[in-house]
Amino acid sequence: MYFNSIAFLVFLPLFLVLFFGTKGCARLVTSLVGSYIFYGWWDVRFLSLIVASTLIDYWIGLRLGVVAGEVGRKRLLLASLASNLGLLFTFKYFNFFRDSLVEAFGSVGIELSGPTLDIVVPVGISFYTFQTLSYTIDVYRGNLRPEPSLLKFSVFVSFFPQLVAGPIVRASDFLPQLSRDHAVRWRNIVTGSSQVLLGFVKKCVIADSLAPYVDAVFENPESRTSITLLLAVVFYAFQIYCDFAGYSDIAIGLARVMGYHFPRNFRYPYFASSFSNFWQRWHISLSSWLRDYLYIPLGGNRKGTTRTYINLMLTMLIGGLWHGAAWTFVVWGGLHGLYLVAQRLTAVAVQSLNWQRISQTFIARASSGAIVFCLVCLAWVFFRSPDFGTAISLLGKIATMQGMSPGAIQNQIIAAKGIGLISVLVIAEACAGWIRPKARCIVSPCFFILYFGSLGLALAWLGTFDHSAFIYFQF
């Protein structure tokens, strides 16, 4: 079920009535059944996977609480890793690795053949797999007590607002919240709804308005002028941001309406002044997951400079592969790994030249921010392109700089609409940093009417409601 579908518009009020009309165990049952209906709406068969993943990690969590020996605990952890990553590998990566192997051996003249799996990747598998993995690892490390209630654990894994595209919520954040019954509170409803509405505006107004332009250009980059290609790349940067941040806002807002508090997933990422700062602002739940469960266990920055760079590259390459089973995603992750390494090298150079004061000036930070944005856009080209050929051809055409005058922009009406929407977004986000309204302000009548009224009008005027899927659903 998509958030931007009629089915969800019917589902949500019914769910909320039942949710707030029940207490304790009944409320958890409502949450679980609602979440399974939400998820099973795509394909009932997907439910078997999430149930299997839930049962395995629940059992392993309980066993980890009982088994004291290190060997036994390690075996349990390995069992969890094998089952979760095995599911992920089978459904998402098997065909990719099989095709890559066949192609690699074929290039040296060895003919290989093997089975291909005729399966659809279950929606959101990467998200809930990481969520359950984090639970088991935390229990194994002793940072979290095993959850004794299967019902509560099942709700933690499958809670519908964040099930299919995050944010990846940690068990230590969410499980304690499931132990309390949250009353219907006006403040939660207002703040949650305001975030939901903002999410819909980002998705239905901005992302879906930019999508036709981006799709048309990436489908046929050869026939486009350089400035059109450049514009499409920038549009894609904002399309994917608004699409994903929009989903996160809706998820966090819905949870808030129900009384749960989820952490922020985006914090104005295109205002980042460095690449590490970008990853502290973009898909925060994934980047912190990769930091805590991959980068730091690999040794982080504690094992020397070279090892730090290797760890950074590995983390980003795996992060890239997490997004999709294609080499373009690996290149995207690799580019971000290189950016992070280059940033560390630059920091060392700045320190050795004693330029720290200059690097902290507004001009230096703004220039750094502009460079970060341009290089992030460069990486998005690989992320969006269906194959390397398209990405290289697109970048090559931009590099020729043929047709760079504003008059050479193709499909000027949609381009102008896109530029207008992006400008409004950038100005709004820049202002939001300075005049971030307090919760008290949001429930004041004037602000309430102004905020909800203007976003509602934007949605009514320019919203696209063709049930287009969220980009991150495919990951």
């Binding site: 009353a183 219907v184 509170r185 609409k417 009224g453």
Partner: protein, 171 residues
């Protein structure tokens, strides 16, 4: 504070939501009225056709081929007539028919209509038809066609009038 704990607070909140709905509807109608006035005064071919401001002796009808294939100044100079090109990029037959019927009813009749028909086999396109939402109030044929083919969008446009003015052709 819990909802329902304080009846006066409850009434205040219902009032606030009502005020929001009223403001939303008033703003929607207000902006839609402004855009509608803009449509009435626009000199683009569709607004002129739907507001009775076409007075050409010859009309050229069709899609982008009609727009680009005829040399209007040449025709006007040689035949000493005023020519109006009413071609619409990507238009489909059913929509074209509704547009021409409405244009004939709303404007002085032309002496000649030239129809470029290379698009006759092209299929209906919802997104292009939605571009005609701003003109649904002006022409009966257009309105009934859109009611028939895009009932949900027409209903949404009746609730929120601003929805009519979000298309490319209007923007």
């Amino acid at each position: 504070m819990k909802i329902g704990a304080n009846p006066r607070g409850m009434i205040g909140r219902v009032g606030l939501l009502s005020a929001l709905c009223c403001c939303l509807l008033v703003a929607d109608r207000g902006f839609a009225l402004v855009f509608d006035q803009g449509t009435r005064k626009s000199n683009a071919r569709l607004p002129r056709a739907y507001t009775g401001r076409i007075d050409g002796d010859v009309w050229i009808i069709g899609n982008s081929r009609a727009i680009k294939s005829f040399d209007l100044p040449q025709i006007e100079r040689r035949l000493q007539v005023r020519v109006e090109n009413l071609g619409v990029n990507g238009i489909r037959p059913a929509l074209q028919e509704a547009f021409v019927i409405d244009s004939l009813q709303l404007n002085p009749a032309p002496r000649l209509v030239i129809i470029e028909i290379s698009y006759l086999k092209s299929e209906w396109d919802d997104s292009l038809a939605a571009e005609f939402l701003p003109y649904a109030e002006y022409g009966d044929s257009t309105r009934s066609l859109l009611n028939d083919r895009l009932p949900k969008q027409m209903m949404a446009a009746d609730i929120f009038n601003l929805r009519r003015f979000g298309g490319q052709l209007f923007l």
